[in-house]
Structures are given as structure tokens and as C-alpha cells.
């Protein structure tokens, strides 16, 4: 969506295995199943 909006200088940070810290096994299992990870992204709005 950021690309669709024309945002530039898009950078992604390191992935974090957030749900591996869940105390619930079914949450950890669902996260593994769907490859769910915490992520960061930075992008700049064009100056037009």
C-alpha cells in the first residue's frame, strides 16, 4: 500500500519472532503455521 501511495526510501528492519514469546502453545503453533513475525518498516511520503 505504501508503494501504491508513491512512498519512497522504503526500509525494513529485522524481523522479530514475537509470538514465540506467547505463553500459549496454540498461539505459538498458529504463528509458526502462518509465518507470523513482528516487523518494522520506514517510508517517506513524496514531496510532490
Amino acid at each position: 500500500m505504501l508503494v501504491e501511495l508513491g512512498y519512497t526510501d522504503i526500509a525494513q528492519g529485522e524481523l522479530v519472532d514475537t509470538y514465540a514469546r506467547s505463553v500459549f502453545e496454540d498461539t505459538r503453533r498458529n504463528a509458526r503455521r502462518y509465518g507470523a513475525m513482528g516487523a518494522t518498516i520506514r517510508a517517506h511520503k513524496p514531496r510532490r
Binding site: M1, L2, E4, L5, Y7, A11, G13, E14, L15, V16, T18, Y19, R21, S22, V23, F24, T27, N30, R33, Y34, G35, A36, M37, G38, A39, T40, I41, R42, A43, H44, K45, P46, R47, R48
Partner: protein, 202 residues
């Protein structure tokens, strides 16, 4: 940007999200399906000393998925918008970074969380923080009034992501930036999975 339709009842989804995050705010000792609290924020590498100054009443409800400040600090004097600010950990970290010449604006749909964020700002003596009870798809802010948009674990919960991104773009000034932390998935979801509320809220 076109709106995007979620394969769930939006009213039910918002109700479930509000219920879950009200519990995160009011029952801080409870185990949730996602990690919470100061130890988790520290493990993510949140900036210090800013994190250490945020009151425990706020950080205990921290439920972020990553650290949006890992991609850069907020510059002094800027206006920062925290989409889905929750109990205010990211908002109050950003407010310290931008300082008294800047502004930190938080928006959230869960009133119990906003109450903690507001009380936290008062406890810290921060006068550059405002919070709004609103949806991220309908922001109560003027066009091009924000320098930096941050968010943490919120956009994945928004049913109409097209509307949320359009609003974010509307309020962000040209040349401004977003620093988002959120959940990504590496598997294409089936329609059945997309319709499961528990996967949205978990």
C-alpha cells in the same frame, strides 16, 4: 486509495479487539496470547532512557510487536502521530524525543487504554501530548499536519486497511515519514482463515 473489505463482521471484530485491549489495560497481571509489559519492551530494545521514564501503569499494558524506533529516532520539534497508541508507551517515548517544542498525538478506539496514556503524560509532566478517541480509518486531524506517523501492532487489526493508509497519507505532510511496527505473515491465508476472528485478534 480504494477501501478494502474484510471477510468478517467489522462490528464484531472491533468489539472483540476493544474487549481484548480493555483487559490488557485493566488486568495487567494476566497472561495474554501476545507478550506484554516492560520486560518485553526492553527485550525489543526500546530506546533508553526514554522507556525507563514511562510510568509502569502504561508500560505494563505495552503489547507491541516490534520497536518502531529501531528505524530511527523522532527529531526534536516534530509532530508525531501514534496510530492506535494504546496505553501510551510508544506515544510517551515519542513525546520525550520530540520535546516541548514538538507534539505527540495519540489516537485509539479503546477508552481504557487512552485513560492510561493521558494519565501517564500527566504523571511525567509532559505538556506536548494529546490523545483522541477515534478510529484510525477516520482521524480527527487536519490534512498535512503530521511529520512522523508511528504505529505498533495496530494496522493488522484494522479491517479496512485501505482507509487507514489513506487517512495516514492525508494527515502526513509531504516529505514526512512513517515508522510502523506490525505483524507480517509469510503464508497466503485461506478465506476460512481470514474469516476467523481469533486469528485477527491473536
Amino acid at each position: 486509495m480504494a477501501t478494502t473489505r474484510a471477510p468478517v463482521d467489522v462490528g464484531v471484530l472491533r468489539g472483540e479487539i476493544q474487549e481484548t485491549y480493555t483487559r490488557v489495560s485493566t488486568d495487567q497481571g494476566r497472561d495474554f496470547i501476545f507478550p506484554t509489559g516492560r520486560a518485553w519492551a526492553e527485550e525489543l530494545g526500546y530506546p533508553q532512557p526514554e522507556l525507563s521514564r514511562v510510568p509502569e501503569a502504561c508500560v505494563a499494558s505495552f503489547a507491541g510487536v516490534a520497536d518502531p524506533f529501531a528505524l530511527g529516532r523522532v527529531e526534536p520539534g516534530t509532530t508525531v502521530l501514534d496510530l492506535g497508541c494504546g496505553a501510551g508507551t510508544d506515544l510517551l517515548v515519542a513525546a520525550q524525543m520530540t520535546g516541548p517544542s514538538g507534539r505527540a498525538v495519540g489516537v485509539d478506539m479503546t477508552e481504557a487504554m487512552l485513560g492510561r496514556a493521558h494519565a501517564g503524560a500527566e504523571a511525567m509532566g509532559l505538556t506536548n501530548v494529546t490523545v483522541h478517541h477515534a478510529l484510525v480509518e477516520s482521524l480527527p486531524l487536519p490534512d498535512t499536519s503530521v511529520d512522523v506517523v508511528i504505529s505498533n501492532g495496530v494496522l493488522d487489526l484494522v479491517p479496512d486497511k485501505g482507509a487507514a493508509f489513506a487517512e495516514m497519507d492525508r494527515v502526513l505532510r509531504p516529505g514526512g515519514r512513517v515508522q510502523l511496527a506490525d505483524v507480517v505473515i509469510h503464508t497466503e491465508l485461506s478465506e476460512d482463515a481470514r474469516a476467523r476472528i481469533d486469528l485477527w485478534t491473536g
